[in-house]
Amino acid sequence: MESIRYISKRILQVIPLLIIVSMISFFIIRLSPIDPLAELRLNPSISEETLQKEIQRLNLDKPIIVQYLSWGKSFLKGDLGYTSAGEKVSVKLKERIPNTLLLTVIVIFLTWSVGIPLGIFAAIKKETAFDRLLTILSSIGMAIPSFFFAILLLIFAVKTGWFPVGGLTSYNYNEMSFWGKIVDLAKHLVLPVTVLFAISLSGLQRQMRANMLEVLDSDYIKFARAKGLSEFKVIFKHALRNAINPMITLLGFEFAGLLSGAALTEYVFQYPGLGRLILEAVMKSDINLVMASLMMGTIMLVLGNLIADILLMLTDPRTKGKSDKSGGAV
């Protein structure tokens, strides 16, 4: 009962947040000097009437506040409107969301299933050669910018011819057999996954190592060891359960990044995901598309935090009932 009340309270808190985020972003986009019609204005073959029609179609002749209200009204009805090129925003998003999810889910699965054990292992073998090597590797991973790493891999693909240069499927994808399709997808995914994996793995591994070290240093672990428990039990039964809690909050953020976390890498690899779509939309000031993606990002972030809090409630009895203090990273 307690937890249901808590969850509904958190959901209600989202409403003012969404209003504020949408207002700020709407006004910033509209007040920026990007004129969606500048290209048309300088086209010698466009007549004045055509220009006026376009202005009316895009609602640019009305004051910003009216534009915002009419956007908000249709957003509430679930209508995301049309892009500046006249396509449905919802259709455009639907085309891209599965692609981005495919990429980010694989990356998150890989980083977590490799990063957590590595972090634990590094903490246990603290100050050994293995730990030092991991430290160096993860420093490199954290220092290298994702777009730069992506470009290096692209050059590698061109020089060796082992991997396709960007994209998600080959042009004859639809004529392939089932297994052919899987192989084709895998070939296209290797490079972007490598970039995202290498970069988020370093951070996650370091985080896990630090948490683990902190816990291993605490009194109750010393006590457990003194009691004569086996090292396996000390680490996996006592230390790990405490060390994993902060990681769950992190998992909430990972959830928020599911749809938006890979934009730069997507752009370099010409991956047909949301990131590329939104980047192009921002550059053209395509307001409905940008607003839809920003709203989606906000909702995902709030949802991610909520999920993390619920998971924390399940794993950590201490947080029960007073979660509003520990959560709310929004």
Binding site: L42, E87, K88, R96, L154, V158, P164, Y171
Partner: protein
Amino acid sequence: MKRLLGILLTIFIIVIFLKGCIRADIPELEFSKHITPSIKNFVYPDENKNVVLNGVDYIKSQAPVGKFGGEIVISTIGEGPKTFNPCNTKDATSSSMAGLLYEGLLATDSRTGKVIPQLAKSFQIQGNDYTINLRRGIKWSDGKPITADDVVYTYNEIVFKGLGNPSTMDAMMIDGKLPKLEKIDDYTVKFSTSKPFAPFLRQLSYPIVPKHYFKTYSDKGASVFNAFLSPNTNPKKIISNGPFLLKEYVAAQRVVFVKNPNYYKINLNNEKLPYIDKLVYLIVGDTNNEILKFEAKEIDVIGLKGNNVARYKEKETESDYIIYNLGSDTGTLFIAINLNNRKNQGGKPYVSPVKQKWFRDKEFRKAIDYAIDRKSMIQNVAYGVAEPLFTSESNNSVYLNKNIKGHEANTKKAKEILSSAGFEFKNNKLYDKQGNLVEFDLYTNAGNLEREALGVMIKQDLEELGMKVNFKPVEFNSLVNKLTNTYDWDMVIMGLTGSPLEPHDGKNVWTSNGTLHMFNMGVKPEERFEWEKELDNLFDEGALKLTFEERKPIYDRYQEIIYEENPIIYLYSPVRISAIRKKIKNVYPSALGGLLYNLDEVYIDK
């Protein structure tokens, strides 16, 4: 000591590795002419002919007979097509793809620039009447015949109602009146214009669409019609008449076309074209990715820019591609000078009266024209891949006035012109008769690296004349606002694209009531310069004459005026260089059409 040695060794090894990454300098191209082969060496055998086989009016391609089968992969930069509705295309990608699906009555011959029949079998012009005879027996992709009803529907219910993209309607409007169209019989239609209007004929290249497929949507009004045939339409439902049919569209990845078995073009052996089975457009985000895809052999054709030209040229002999120089682009780069001498609503002059005196002085503008070094601009900014430009028609225009030869940069002559116009040099600075220091602003749009580099060079060239130039790159939108709204600018570096076939398209820039008459925006008829009056008359006159021979002298004179008066000083236009894999045959590159305008005739032979 040992540690220090270790560090030094590591640095040494890293340096050795990095050395491998540094490439020898790219050789410099002096002029684009160094890029062979010149496209004049590739002459198409003969004009295509109409033939009748089994009661069907085919076009017989005169290109050598090739092999059937295979596929060509090309690329399109950007976000891909926004619509496949040929009546509603507003960007180049959408219209070129819709152009593969739908053809018009007439077309422009990409080799000669002449108007040639396409869906029409032939056409006759008598006074203001244009009679068009259609091909008999040709079909839509669903097997229904293409008849005069489809033509009448396309023009009367789409073009003349301004549905979709209204630019064709705008262009067909003569003094506010649209032409009339009537059906004579099932295979003949007649257009009548209210008075002779030369640009009209080329507008008949507007794509013809199937009435039985489009009418349900066009009847529902603009918003339904604009959303019709969006990229996500089921390709099987699309009924078209072009050489290719849509096979699939995958957002942000590719568009695939297959050949249309009902197409009306045949080869010399009377076999139906096109040769290739499949045409794939890969949607790539930017030019860098396109280059990578070409190097990884994922695409077959690429347009080369700037320093890539020299690099590809160097590797050409050992590669599987040929580089073609397609000649000048239709784009032009120029400096416009603000000749405005009017006041804004607040009574303040748009341009300060001191500057007005200089800018409205023909000699001052001429001096600037002489001071500008186009040759070094081309070498340093355009990597040699451009041709100097001295007047408003681009170098590939059929109406280019070839008598205008241009001139070399000549600072000495420029100084003489200024002195004789009453300007004075003191301590390397230029002063006018009243003793005012000559100083003005030069704008361009920030972020355009080419124009920013040009600005720096122009500033240097003009400072040799003692002028003080404040070069100010500003955001594109504020620049457009200055040009079309507030008129508070002195000089600006800009570019526009023109038409290589129809000089009348420039009327918005050159006639005094045009919407882009930027150098003297909003001028009243009685305030016009003498030469502005002449330009107005020339444009009126040119549109009324129907033959090339009658029109040429008129448009020659208009280019002369611009060359003499210099309200806009032209700099250069880029040259198009493209590389294409050798396995693609029947390529007849042309300055107007580029490399692959004849996709229905090219074939693959390895």
